[in-house]
């Protein structure tokens, strides 16, 4: 059993999905989905501990040896992300039962949980696999189920948003497939470890260069790098609230993971940064993304959209970290992937609580909401402070390392811009604070009560995580540093 751990976290939700299809009973399905997710979470913890203790784990699927069969490989880079994905999924599923009551027709609830399980299985699969083609397969599984989840949104615009995402996502996936296909053409292998050995032999060929270019653009579409982010705000805004919480905290991070894995693990540092001016591209687009998206966020009335634009900005930070191309920069990116997952998870769950009571996410309808929902708004406020990067929250930790990385290069202006970006986030967070704390409650909000405990509790779990990992950074900083060192050490 223990030997099969590296696949169990993918297999369990994937098997649970058809089982749910047979069960069909709403509460039963929720319970099975939650149980499966919790099991995945437990397995992820086990895997992380194992990796920390004895180094990377390799698992051969069906007993076929690596370059021929499919290999699953768990190391310091993906183990913490497995934990993030399954953890956020479990917390969000906990809140989902109550939250979707108000947002999705009852007869679709079973389908909702099935799509959720498949989406999670897909994301976990991408992280765990050591096979390039497998990445594409799981990417499609997670994407298709994500399109379904988004389309379940109450507003009819959800269909349009889902369709938009479908088009953008499919183009991205196709580009990725073209990239992988070209790599296979040149090397005859799909195993990542094998690819990384064989690619340098042919790295001067135009085909490999093309493969790389297609791949990068495809992934950047999936991870919503500015200016390829256009699909994201609508998708996040019109999806059911818990889905937004889940996807915002995990999906883009997984895409960033693919980028890191291929860039550093397969193409290799030298190729990745010498064949294309990737460093300056990443820095420019990342910084531009931070400012454009943050400023766009200021002007949103729909809080979901506001946070969605903020997500685009945060992706900018992740990409800037990669663009800095040093150990601390990579570490900052890895750290921020985890930290941003925690903050956006908390924020979107708090928003789910608001939508549950208020029926919508328009800021202009939230006058004085803090007096009616003090715990929800307190959670939102702490999440917002974390987003700004106030000390004692996770956001501060990420920012610290990102700026340190820039200064290690002596790039003072870049460091200044990174910090200036977080001041812009003060504006959009405080815009919310002023409405919910200072405006007098209107007729609408006066009737609102505090959110039910089943949504509030998961929200506060994530809020607590924001504070805990902001104060005790041993685990997060320790692991991401080791991961960054092992990647740079392996060059």
């Amino acid at each position: 059993m223990l030997a099969h751990l590296p696949v169990l976290h993918v297999i369990i939700p994937m098997m649970a999905a058809p089982a749910c299809l047979i069960l069909r009973r709403r509460d039963l399905v929720w319970f099975v989905a939650l149980a499966a997710t919790l099991m995945s979470f437990a397995v992820s913890i086990g895997l992380l501990l194992q990796v920390l203790e004895s180094g990377p784990i390799s698992y051969e699927f069906g007993g076929w040896e690596a370059p021929w069969g499919i290999e699953y490989r768990i190391d310091l880079l993906n183990a913490p992300l497995l934990l993030l994905v399954s953890g956020i999924s479990a917390v969000a599923l906990f809140a989902a039962r109550k939250s979707i009551e108000a947002e999705i027709p009852k007869d679709r609830h079973a389908l909702f949980y099935i799509a959720w399980l498949l989406c999670m299985a897909g994301l976990l699969g991408i992280l765990a696999t050591g096979d390039a083609f497998n990445v594409f397969v799981f990417l499609e599984i997670s994407s298709l189920s994500a399109y379904t989840l988004i389309a379940l949104g109450k507003n009819r615009k959800a269909l349009w948003a889902s369709y938009q995402y479908l088009i953008a996502g499919t183009i991205g996936a196709t580009f990725i497939l073209i990239g992988i296909g070209l790599m296979y053409m040149m090397t005859g292998t799909l195993n990542m470890a094998d690819l990384s050995e064989r690619l340098p032999e042919v790295s001067s060929s135009r085909t490999v260069f093309t493969a790389f270019a297609f791949f990068i653009v495809g992934v950047c579409l999936k991870l919503a790098l500015f200016p390829l982010h256009v699909w994201l705000p609508n998708a996040y805004a019109y999806a059911p609230s818990v889905v937004t919480a889940f996807l915002a905290a995990t999906a883009t991070k997984v895409a960033v993971y693919i980028l890191i894995r291929f860039k550093y693990g397969i193409f290799g540092f030298d190729f990745a940064f010498s064949s294309l001016p990737l460093q300056s591209i990443f820095l420019t687009l990342g910084l531009a993304g931070i400012f454009v998206a943050s400023i766009a966020a200021i002007f949103q009335d729909n809080l979901k959209k506001l946070l969605a634009y903020s997500s685009v900005a945060q992706i900018g930070y992740l990409i800037v970290g990669l663009g800095l191309a040093n150990e601390t920069g990579l570490m900052a990116t890895l750290l921020h992937m985890l930290n941003h997952g925690l903050m956006k998870g908390a924020l979107f769950l708090a928003l789910a609580a608001i939508v549950y009571r208020l029926g919508e996410a328009k800021l202009s309808e939230m006058h004085g909401l803090a007096s009616r929902m003090p715990w929800t708004m307190a959670a939102f406020l702490i999440g917002g402070l974390s987003l700004i990067g106030v000390p004692l929250t996770v956001g501060f930790v990420s920012k610290w390392y990102l700026v340190t990385a820039a200064l290690e290069h002596d790039w003072w202006p870049v460091a200044g811009l990174i910090l200036l970006g977080s001041v812009v986030s003060v504006i959009y967070v405080w815009k919310v604070v002023e409405v919910v704390y200072f405006k007098a409650a209107n007729e609408r909000t006066a009737e609102v009560r505090e959110a039910p405990l089943s949504i509030l509790a998961p929200t506060w779990v994530l809020v607590a995580a924001n504070l805990y990992f902001g104060i005790n950074t041993e685990l997060t900083v320790g692991i991401t540093r080791m991961a960054a060192v092992s990647i740079f050490g392996g060059l």
Binding site: T404, V426, I471, E474
Partner: protein
Amino acid sequence: MDILFAPTHSLLISMLLPLLAVIGIIVLDRRPNLREAVSIGTSIIVIVLVFNLYRQFKAGVAVELSLFEILPGFAIAFKLEALGMLFALVAAGLWLVTIVYAIGYMRSHHEENQTRFYACFAIAIGSVLGIAYSANLFTLFVFYEVLTLSTYPLVTHAGTAEAKRGGRTYLGILLGTSIVFFLFAIIGTAVIAGSLDFKAGGIFPEGTPTAIPSLLLLLFVFGVGKAAIMPFHRWLPAAMVAPTPVSALLHAVAVVKAGVFTLLKIGVYIFGLDFMSTLATTDILLYLAGASVLIASLIAMRQDNLKKRLAYSTVSQLSYITAGVLLATEAGVIGGAMHIAMHAFGKITLFFCAGAILVALHKTRVSELRGIGWQMPITMLAFLIGTISIIGLPPGGGTWSKWYLLTGALEADHIAIMGVLMISSLLNIAYLMPIPVLAFLPVAKQGEVKPPLHEAPWPSLLALTFTALMSIVLFLYPQPLFELAAAIVN
């Protein structure tokens, strides 16, 4: 009891107790007398603990405490040294006085949300003590931000549109400068010097080229927005929408002094005076501070709103201290450190008086104050004493700090700064002195009845009398204060 008085325990408890008191304050929401008893009780214990620390400190006991590392190499750690001791004494002492004052003020002014008020006040004082005790810049920054956030609800206490606007300016400038400049400078220092610990003589390794530290100094001076150097001073007048006790303790003592305290710490323990005097930006910033002193005084003259006038006066006085640091001489630092205490007692008296006038006679404008001295003799006498101390005339404590600041300027051969200090004293007379003088002008014409005595509630009166007397005491017995200030540079 012994456990409580072990130095590290005293340090930790005096800082955490205000935070714990918040729980009591919130629980006792509906029983105001008990709630205020919690505040008073806590502040008395804190004063006892801080005095115990002072006693130990004078006896030469080293008080150090490292709690935990937030980031590898950057711990939340505390270490008592002279400047921090001085600041802690001032803040803790004046907290009690202010609470006594606030009870009279808040109740007779029928303020709402008093529970939130006392709770945020306690958090603010806890974080001020955290700043005072910090052993490194990292810890200081953490508490600095907590202080900003915990005082925001105090500034916007009234909840009106004006309060919201003021709060926006307050938070925007303080949080903005702290993230863009201060944090930037901190990380820059960490990258270059490899450490953020406060160390006598500075932490930059010998032979560090001066270009980047010059830039860092610039970032520090602008980043510590709480020191209110121009052009980042606007948050302070904006904060005057807060209830008067907040303006008195936080915006004349705790918050603003946290700013100049931070600058002193950075000057003495991060750069070191010798190194700082070689930096290219030191002189530029010094002249900027000088300009700040004069311009703020000129603006103060044009303010008819009493609290606003006092606020601009504070901006001006804070730049005295900033200039004291930037002079990079021992006398400058001593003068700056002493001015933290002297200005605190003087200015808090003035704010207390302004609040008393508001509560008793509902007057906020300088032009309305003619003759009120006959109605509020104690208040206006206290105002006179506060004024004298701020101007720097005997028998006000401010005499001594200004003396050392002038000496510092002379030692550093900055005749222009000496001139600034002199002119500024004249300006102080011009914008502060008319108030008590006006107040004691005869108001009733012959044959008319004099308006009856109408003083503020007794707790408020008690508080302002105490702080006014302290301003005189500090003139007569400046020795303990001087010893602390002198210990900073030795």
